[in-house]
């Protein structure tokens, strides 16, 4: 880790106050959507973030793009706090950090045409000198992105386009601002299986071309493995395993990752592995712990696991887990 990270997430947490049964027990409870997360991403790197639904992946994406304010901790870009960046020059920050949302059907206001939707940020950020120049740029990008004829697409309303087309437009719009870091929050999970690969390729090609760092959020470990340089595995608001994509998939250290991989049909490991099932209550990040958050469902859990949260343990220079029993 000699290179200075481009994005560096330092002890970031997001706790939502829990509004249920306050009358019954008076202590204040929190939904710990993200809890003390540390990660880093290099320029041009693709970091995959995986985990079950509700484990806090989208929250992490929103924290890094400052659509949510962290309860604690910070995210630094080039060593500068994003809190400062957005305070000093909101527009510049928004240009350099972009996000693709999971639901392309709701990403654009239903009242505007694609032309209005694409021209608006360009005008806001003073990209292009005239309306004509901006229109030309948009049409060019649409057509490069496989949306032909661009002139025709520009006249459409969002509800007249398919999810795949909308997600392409979402990617094109983000890329118009030439961001240095982009969060893709399950960008294809709501799309037809047949178009998923094309959309992911489009995103990754554009990212590569501009040397953009990408945080690719997914619940699909097989897909994430193929496109990512590194993978972070999340469980109940915590990162429980991090490493190079191949390391994590071929040699998972954390019992949760092991269970995820053994349950995933599309990864066939070289050696025969027994299937590990995850049992127990579906998790909620409502005041988890003490002890390892995974303990209630962990097949390796022991007495000690219930007492304190495990420390970070390095499996190699580039691979770590938070588990006290794995080797």
């Amino acid at each position: 880790m000699s290179e200075k990270p481009y994005v560096s997430v330092e002890n970031i947490s997001k706790w939502y106050p829990y509004k249920g049964d306050k009358l019954i027990n008076h202590e204040k409870k929190f939904i710990k959507a993200n809890d003390d997360i540390n990660l880093s991403i290099q320029k041009g790197e693709i970091l995959g973030v995986i985990g079950e639904s509700g484990c806090g992946k989208s929250t992490l994406g929103k924290l890094l793009t400052r659509l949510e304010t962290p309860t604690a901790g910070d995210c630094l870009i080039n060593g500068v706090s994003t809190k400062e960046l957005i305070k000093n020059d909101m527009k510049a920050f928004r240009r350099s950090v972009q996000i693709i949302f999971q639901n392309p059907f709701d990403t654009f206001t239903p009242r505007d045409t694609i032309e209005q939707i694409l021209l608006r940020p360009l005008k806001n950020h003073n990209i292009g000198n005239s309306k004509e120049e901006r229109r030309k740029l948009c049409i060019e990008r649409l057509e490069e992105g496989g949306l032909v004829p661009g002139e025709d697409i520009m006249k459409r309303y969002p509800h007249e386009l398919s999810g795949g087309q909308l997600q392409r437009i979402s990617i094109i719009r983000a890329m118009l601002l030439d961001p240095e870091f982009i969060v893709a929050d399950e960008p294809v999970s709501m799309l037809d299986v047949s178009v998923r690969a094309e959309i992911i390729n489009m995103l990754l090609d554009l990212a590569k071309l501009h040397n953009t760092a990408v945080m690719f959020i997914s619940h699909d470990i097989a897909l994430t493995r193929y496109i990512s340089d590194n993978i972070a595995v999340m469980y109940l608001g915590k990162v429980v395993e991090y490493g190079k994509a191949d390391e994590v998939v071929n040699n998972p250290g954390h019992p949760y990752t092991k269970a995820l991989i053994s349950n995933c049909a599309s990864i066939d490991p070289d050696d025969e592995r027994e299937e590990i099932s995850i049992t127990g209550e579906p998790p909620t990040p409502l005041d988890p712990g003490p002890g390892c958050y995974f303990a209630p469902r962990c097949f390796m859990a022991c007495e000690k696991c219930l007492k304190e949260y495990p420390d970070k343990k390095n499996l190699s220079d580039t691979h770590w887990i938070t588990c006290m029993n794995a080797e």
Partner: protein, 283 residues
């Protein structure tokens, strides 16, 4: 694409009789407003020699009042007053409601808490009494009446807009506008208000019916603007002749009822058409 929206609007109007009747009624009121000099038989401000004439007497279709003004012509010109009061006071109420409610719902936090409290206080105030008080204090010009109606009725619109803003701000397109670098103000005016304003428009139209009634009520109590022709004032002035010259009160009363019904049908029809459940039921 503008055509597209027009056809959708036309279909909506056709799908609901109430809305259709309201639209036709409003068109009729507009025609009466514009063409009043052509349709009326006399200048209603002229005090003629024919005092308290009955129906049809001396060419006065609906008779005259105690000052010799032609009742028919007064009613025609009264449309102008009623519609003006309805539209302007509803606009004031609508604009205040949309801006205040929209800001509260979208910004949330302390702003929302404070504004919500203010809204609640306003909703508890006895509106008509407040209007009476203000008109008594600041005089009874039509402008005052319109402003007062506007600023006492905005809380209902604000509540509706706030609820819309609260749900809209969780929508992806609002988050994505923020991510694209739009300011809070841009988001409020470009995404929250245009996407959430429909219930407020419907409610404001209903409010127009109430505004007409309020102006008539004030006039009936003698707090109307004496320098204009208004149906409420016709009733106020005519009520002492109710036994001898019933037509003065009766026809102005009918005019008020019709105008109120038109705006009510328009507002209620709009409400029904824009309720998402309505289209599902029909489909």
């Amino acid at each position: 694409m503008k055509n597209n929206r027009l056809t959708i609007a036309a279909q909506a109007v056709k799908s609901n009789r109430q809305l259709m009747a309201g639209c036709i009624g409003v068109l009729a009121l507009l025609v009466l407003m514009i063409a009043a000099p052509l349709i009326s038989t006399e200048d209603p401000t002229i005090y003629g020699p024919d005092v308290l004439n009955g129906l049809g007497e001396n060419g006065h279709i609906l008779g005259t009042n105690h000052l010799g003004q032609d009742v028919y012509s007064m009613i025609i010109y009264g449309v102008r007053t009623s519609v003006k009061v309805a539209v302007i006071s509803a606009m004031i109420s609508g604009i205040l409601g949309v801006l205040i409610g929209g800001a509260a719902g979208f910004l949330g936090g302390k702003v929302d808490v404070i504004i919500s409290e203010i809204i609640n206080v306003f909703m508890m105030l006895p509106t008509f009494f407040l209007i009476l008080l203000i008109v008594a204090l600041f005089g009874n010009s039509l402008t005052n009446v319109m402003i007062v109606i506007g600023i006492t009725t905005w809380p209902g619109n604000a509540k509706l807009m706030r609820a819309q803003a609260l749900s809209l701000r969780e929508r992806v397109f609002v988050k994505s506008a923020e991510a694209m670098g739009e300011t809070k103000r841009q988001i409020l005016f470009k995404y929250i208000i245009p996407n959430g304003i429909f219930p407020v428009i419907a409610n404001t139209t209903l409010g127009m019916a109430n505004a007409i009634l309020t102006e008539a009520g004030l006039s009936f109590l003698g707090l109307g603007d004496p320098s204009i022709i208004s149906w409420g004032q016709m009733i106020y002035a005519g009520k002492q002749y109710i036994t001898s010259a019933w037509w003065i009160c009766a026809f102005s009363g009918i005019a008020i009822i019709i105008a109120v019904l038109i705006f009510y049908m328009l507002g209620d029809g709009l409400n029904k058409v824009m309720d998402p459940r309505y289209n599902k039921r029909r489909a």
